[in-house]
């Protein structure tokens, strides 16, 4: 895969609208304002970085009124000397009661020289809301690697199977079956 041109989006949502965004391998800054009731926002991103690649991903989600929901799942895979940076602003205004907001950032470091910075910023001014956020950066599970090697799978292929499993979670949220299949094939092609 390669890194695409930066994506800059600013979206104001009207009542009952549904926005679903996928970003694959591109720096981005996405601003979403839920200005009316009952909006739904979904942001999924996957950054698979190698070499000296350096990607910043920013989300700015504001719930100005209540009854809406937002889901964000942002994943980075970083190999070699790659650098990743996630900035996630999430605001729930005082009037935005009964909002449901989830922000998750998961990162996988494949080399000792890759780096990830995560800056979640949550401002929640309403009290009757359901809001979660989670950020984690880790390495491949050594016990899973050994388990696969013990079945005859070489270490490089075992690593790729685990990385693909990590990436698939994003691809599987794509609604368009054709696009989804093509991306899953692209990922599996690396293995077989």
């Amino acid at each position: 895969m390669f890194i695409n041109e930066p994506v800059n989006l600013q979206i104001d949502q009207e009542a009952g609208s549904h926005v679903k965004i996928h970003v694959i391998n591109a720096p981005f800054s996405i601003t979403v304002n839920q200005l009316e009731e009952g909006c739904k926002t979904e942001i999924y991103a996957l950054e698979n970085l190698h070499g000296e690649e350096n990607v910043t991903a920013e989300t700015h989600v504001t719930h100005a009124v209540g009854g809406g929901s937002s889901t964000q799942l942002i994943k980075f895979v970083l190999d070699d000397n790659a650098r990743g940076h996630f900035i996630g602003d999430l605001k729930i205004a005082p009037d935005a009661q009964q909002t449901e907001a989830h922000q998750t950032n998961r990162n996988l470091l494949l080399s000792e020289t890759a780096e990830m910075r995560t800056q979640p910023q949550l401002e929640i001014y309403a009290d009757d809301v359901k809001a979660t956020h989670g950020a984690s950066t880790g390495q491949l599970d050594e016990s899973a690697l050994f388990y696969m090697q013990q079945r005859g799978i070489d270490k490089q292929k075992a690593r790729q199977l685990l990385v693909n499993a990590f990436m698939k979670e994003i691809i599987e949220t794509i609604s368009d079956e054709k696009v989804k299949e093509r991306l899953l094939d692209t990922i599996d092609g690396i293995v077989q």
Binding site: Y147, Q150, K157, A165
Partner: protein, 248 residues
Amino acid sequence: MSKLLEIKDLHASIGGKEILKGVNLVINEGEVHAIMGPNGAGKSTLSAVLTGNPAYDVTGGEVYLKGENLLTMEPEVRARAGVFLSFQYPVEIPGVSMTNFMRTALNAKREYEGKEPLTAKEFLSLMRQKKKLLELPDKLNNRSVNEGFSGGEKKKNEIFQMAMLEPCLSILDETDSGLDIDALRIVAEGVNRLKTPHNASIVITHYQRLLDYIVPDFVHVLADGKIVKTGDKTLALELEERGYEGII
């Protein structure tokens, strides 16, 4: 009867602490060897060292599989050469389906043996056939490896993988732990049906119970990193009665 595995004066440590202190063992084709012993004796270390777990250091001794130096082989090469470990704690691998995992593993072994990879159809038919042996459900194919499996399903899944890969040396590391009596029977019957005159098993267990189902030709007692006693199946009964302290 030809020699399958030969362990000579094997020493191994983890984190600088010596666990195996000179293990000697010869296993011939067609044999079932039980290894029993108290906690911390080195039973699981032995299985980890034989399979090349990188957490352990071999500090002395030699191991040969069919005359080949096992200790210089990468873990995946040992597996392809026919060493199989039924893990005491099978690992969950979210996002990797059983089908993809098993097909990758089986074709790696076939390539090592100079055979053509199986087609998707041949592979699925083999999966179906082997799953029956362990009474595993069909839905297993699309599930992630061991993810959300019950304790019993995980152990059955280990023996299912053994059935798929047809190893020459199977190491069953406390396969009976966490199994109820029905699951134990299914797992043991699976193991017994996979037995041929050309393969062998090492059965590591705490209890005599499993050995009622998988009857060993030899029982070894491992204590403080060494095999201190070897006998036939009656030794397991004696251990059950008198405890390790009465034997060692």
